[in-house]
Structures are given as structure tokens and as C-alpha cells.
């Protein structure tokens, strides 16, 4: 059974850049593999180990400009390949940038359909940058497949998949017929860092980038693009409590907390 795994080249949230007026410089923030997608790749590779088949990684560039980002998304996909995916296919096209969830879902589902038949499509529960957590479901509906989200355990048995969903208060075990889409949480496994050998090997694996016309798409209309992105200005006091010794620091801190009304003595 072949497994598709969806990987996002996410804005690296640890590398956010803004100008002196606090405007976020989206084009200058580097892309990195979205955290939970590493779990999805690792899970796909684990299932492949049990059932055989290929693991194919898919992505759509969602942040522009395309010419500058083409190499960055390739690096992200090389990481997915180093983690054990067998090949990678991506769409890089200025016509959809910056993409919204609906266009990303439309583009990914077309790319997947064009590439092959997959018994299971895995994705991270949400992306590091936008965290809207709805893409796996939107793709499933576009493909006409059943879907389960927030999996912390996946068992494939006899043409079906048993998914343990990690809900806030309980674990809900659901069963779906294959082919199916499943989103995974960060708790499903602990992906290992790829070894140097795996990284080197990843460059020999097939990687293909398409434009939207190459996968048979016209420029789609965005359903709900964001209108603006603003830097959150931290309104914290950022006061480092200093003193001659720890006793003095502790006393000053306690006084501050009493002043704030958050500690009572």
C-alpha cells in the first residue's frame, strides 16, 4: 500500500522578522518543515515497514515569492526524504501565492490524484505557522475519502484503519475504511534526526516541482485569504528584578506580585 504524506514548508516561527514600524517581513522569514509533519512522515515510514509500499511526500508552496522560495521548499522536502519518504512532489507557482487553506487543499488534492493511488494520506494536525488545523479534512472531502484527525495511534488492519484520537478529555478510537486521510499529533511518535547518510541519500531520491497548469489546474479563487498580518506587540513589563542577593530579589518580587494583586499574604 502506498502512503501519501503531506508536508508544509512553514514560516519558521522562531525567525520572525519585522521592520522598525512593526510590519512583519513575510518574504524574509525562512521556511522550515512544519513540526508535526515530521511526525506524519515518521508514521508513514513506520507503516510502510509493516505493510510495504512507497511513501510519497507532497507539498504546495504557500508563501512567496516563488523564485526565492523554490530552493527553500526543496530543502524542506529533502528533510522529509531524509526522514524516510521515497519521493517528493511539490507545486511551486506564483499564481496561488500567498495561498489560503482552500487553495492549498485544492492544489494538493489535484497533485495527489495526478501522482497515484494511495491507501492512506497522513498529515500533521496543523501547521506551525497558521495552525488552522482544517487542511486534512478539506483534502479528504475533495478526494471523497473518510478522515480522522488528531491521531496519537494508527493501526492498519484488513482494508481499514483504526485511529486513536487524542481528545481533550478522552481517547476516542474510530475505524474508517481505506483509502483514508488521517492527521497526527506530535505525540504519535518521536521522529529521530536524520543521519548524515540519510541526508546524503535524500539527494538521490526523486524530487519534482510542478506549476499549477502542469497538474491541470486553472488559477483558483481564494476562499478566505487573510487581509492583514500584524506583529503581536508584547505588552509585558519585561522587568528584571535585581538585588544584592537572592533574599533581596525574592522580597522585591513578592512585593511586586502583591502590588499586582496576584499574591495575597
Amino acid at each position: 500500500m502506498d502512503i501519501a504524506v503531506l508536508v508544509k514548508a512553514s514560516l519558521d516561527v522562531n525567525m520572525i522578522k519585522a521592520d522598525s514600524e512593526g510590519r512583519i517581513l513575510l518574504d524574509s522569514i525562512p521556511l522550515a518543515i512544519s513540526e508535526y509533519d515530521r511526525n506524519a512522515v515518521a508514521e508513514a515510514v513506520r507503516i510502510k515497514g509493516e505493510l510495504g509500499g512507497r511513501v510519497v511526500a507532497f507539498s504546495v508552496l504557500t508563501w512567496g515569492p516563488a523564485d526565492k522560495r523554490a530552493k527553500e521548499i526543496e530543502n524542506v522536502m529533502r528533510e522529509a526524504l531524509a526522514l524516510g519518504a521515497d519521493e517528493a512532489h511539490v507545486v511551486v507557482d506564483d499564481a496561488i501565492l500567498p495561498s489560503d487553506v482552500s487553495v492549498t487543499a485544492e492544489t494538493l488534492s489535484n497533485l495527489i490524484k495526478k501522482t497515484g493511488d494511495f491507501g492512506l494520506i497522513l498529515a500533521g494536525e496543523g501547521s506551525m505557522d497558521m495552525m488552522s488545523a482544517q487542511l486534512p479534512v478539506r483534502i479528504a472531502y475533495k478526494l471523497g475519502y473518510p478522515v480522522a484527525t488528531f491521531a496519537r495511534k494508527i493501526d492498519v488492519i484488513n482494508g481499514a484503519v483504526k485511529v486513536t484520537r487524542d481528545l481533550e478529555d478522552v481517547l476516542q478510537v474510530v475505524e474508517l475504511p481505506l483509502p483514508a486521510v488521517v492527521s497526527v499529533t506530535g505525540e504519535i511518535n518521536q521522529p529521530r534526526l536524520p543521519t548524515l547518510l540519510q541526508i546524503r541519500k535524500s539527494f538521490a531520491k526523486p524530487y519534482k516541482a510542478y506549476t499549477i497548469s502542469e497538474i491541470g489546474m486553472d488559477t483558483p479563487e481564494k476562499l478566505f485569504p487573510f487581509d492583514d498580518i500584524k506583529l503581536v506587540t508584547v505588552s509585558r513589563k519585561n522587568m528584571i528584578i535585581e538585588g544584592e542577593n537572592l533574599e533581596e530579589i525574592a522580597e522585591k518580587l513578592i512585593d511586586k506580585l502583591i502590588e499586582e494583586g496576584v499574591v495575597r499574604v
Partner: protein
């Protein structure tokens, strides 16, 4: 305009009603509120025209039932709790009708003629604004929008479940203590700065002195397994919104900071003066926690006279 609020607890309906009232006052559009409770009884919540109820079911079956209702009643908005089941159900409904869906709305703002829905992105470091238009699906965090429960008493109607292919095989309890971080006023957070599980006793002592709870960063729950996941503060863990958060030996990963950002006062104790947590704190103490905590606890006891 008609809006449907779904959820499996009465509090979900109240949270959604709060959002509807806030949106209505920003836009000047009057919105008629309908509710749908899946699982759990339909309690009377004033402010709703009608509350539908259905038995507990898979997210797919709930979504099918909601989709049918949208068609029948020409609903223009659907609102769900910003938790995992709410997110899946609403993503399904949004997919069926190709509707925009704004996950976890944190605020409503106006600029000129337009009303915008805001949500936190990039680990809480940025806010994205989306122009409000209908139809639209929205997930709403707990207690974010205060509702006034007044007006007519709702009618009730039971709905038939429209099943799908998803089978719920079993529901298992989660390993859980009696900790409810989301309701705690004071939380002492522990991170990788602690070298051994036994050392957490200091944090528990401090939390007890402050009538608080102990929470933790991801490695302490997920990697070291020193504490249960019910104590894990993070986007995928618990989101806290108390009066005081004291982060001890926590460097401050974006997911952790975002989940604590609704706290009134944040204190950080870390020996690394460059730790990101200080940027997100009101008060910082640059010190080794092993030296500072005993002194802090001793001074607190003196002040409290215990």
C-alpha cells in the same frame, strides 16, 4: 441572519452565544441564535431561539447532521468550540459547503466599513485578520466572549443522527489526575531547568503556598514523563488564563508562550539571561532555580506567617 452554535456542553453554547453577541454589536447585524448539543442534555440557555439535541456520535455523523440543518434552515454561520472535536466537525461542514473557516477566533475588530475576525498565528507572535463575510464557520475558545443570557426561553427539538462511514469503536479514559490547569488562578510551570523528577517537589511546595497548581513544558510531560499530560502547557496541551504564571527553568518555546499568553502576570526564573521567556514576562529573575526557589519559598512563608 441565522447562526448555529454547536457543542457537547452547555458552556460551548454560551461561548458561541457570546461570540454572536459581540459580532452583532460590532456589525450592527441582528443575529438569531440556534444551538445544537451533541451528547449531553439540552439545558435551557436563554438567548437561543431553539436548541436542537442529538446523541453523542462520531464527528462525521455530527457534521452530516449539521450540514443537513444548514440546508434546511439557510443558516449563514456555524460556530463550534475551539477544541479538537469542534475543529474536526466544523472543518467537515466548511468542506461540504466550501465555506471559509476561521479557527480559534481571538477577537473582533473594525476598520472603516469592514469587520475583521482575528486569530493568533505563528505561535502567538502574530495576528491574522480576516474580513467577516457570510457564510462563515468559526471556532471560538472557551470564555473568550462573554455572553449575556437573556431573552426568550428556547424551544427544543431532537434530531436524528445521520451516520457516516466512521465507526466509533471505543472511548477510553485519559490518564488524568485531578488537575484542571485551565481553571487555575496561579500556576507554577516547570521546565528542563529541573535536573531530576524529585526536584519538582520545590515547585509543588511553591504552588501550594500560592494556592496554585503545577504545570510544565512539553519535555517534562512528553519526553521525561515526570508529569502527566494534563499538566502540559502548550498549544497541543493546556491553555492557561489565570492571574499568575511563574515559569521556572523554562526557556519559552513559542507553543508554550502562546498557551500562557492570556495570563495576567507572568514571572520567569531562568539562569540564562537570554532565554526567550524573559521577553514574554512581566518580571524576570536571572538565577539558578536551585538557589532561588528555596529562598523565594522561605521569604513567601515569612510574609504569610506560615
Amino acid at each position: 441572519m441565522k447562526a448555529l452554535v454547536i457543542g457537547n456542553k452547555t458552556s460551548h453554547l454560551v461561548d458561541g452565544l457570546g461570540f454572536i453577541q459581540a459580532l452583532s454589536s460590532e456589525t450592527g447585524v441582528s443575529i438569531e441564535a440556534y444551538g445544537l448539543l451533541y451528547g449531553g442534555g439540552a439545558e435551557e440557555t436563554k438567548g437561543f431561539t431553539k436548541i436542537f439535541s442529538m446523541p453523542e456520535a462520531s464527528p462525521e455523523a455530527v457534521a452530516n447532521t449539521v450540514s443537513k440543518l444548514i440546508e434546511k434552515m439557510t443558516l449563514e454561520m456555524v460556530i463550534a468550540p475551539a477544541e479538537k472535536n469542534g475543529t474536526e466537525i466544523l472543518s467537515r461542514v466548511a468542506s461540504v459547503y466550501d465555506m471559509p473557516m476561521i479557527t480559534e477566533v481571538s477577537g473582533i475588530s473594525k476598520a472603516g466599513e469592514n469587520t475583521y475576525l482575528e486569530r493568533a498565528i505563528m505561535g502567538g507572535r502574530a495576528t491574522a485578520l480576516y474580513r467577516f463575510k457570510t457564510p462563515m464557520a468559526v471556532t471560538v475558545p472557551a470564555k473568550k466572549f462573554k455572553a449575556s443570557e437573556s431573552g426568550a426561553t428556547p424551544e427544543f427539538e431532537e434530531l436524528q443522527v445521520i451516520d457516516g462511514v466512521t465507526k466509533v469503536v471505543e472511548v477510553l479514559p485519559k490518564e488524568k489526575g485531578a488537575v484542571d490547569l485551565e481553571a487555575a488562578d496561579v500556576i507554577v510551570g516547570v521546565g528542563r531547568g529541573f535536573k531530576a523528577k524529585d526536584d519538582l517537589a520545590m515547585a509543588f511546595e511553591l504552588a501550594e503556598l500560592l494556592d496554585g497548581e503545577v504545570g510544565c513544558s512539553r519535555p517534562v510531560a512528553a519526553d521525561f514523563k515526570w508529569l502527566g499530560e494534563d499538566r502540559w502547557i502548550g498549544i497541543s496541551g493546556k491553555k492557561i488564563r489565570g492571574k499568575l504564571y511563574i515559569a521556572v527553568g523554562i526557556s519559552g518555546a513559542p507553543q508554550h508562550i502562546m498557551a500562557a499568553s492570556d495570563t495576567k502576570v507572568i514571572v520567569a526564573v531562568n539562569k540564562d539571561k537570554n532565554a526567550p521567556i524573559f521577553t514574554f514576562s512581566d518580571y524576570g529573575v536571572v538565577a539558578d532555580l536551585y538557589q532561588f526557589l528555596p529562598v523565594f519559598i522561605k521569604k513567601l512563608k515569612e510574609k504569610k506567617g506560615v
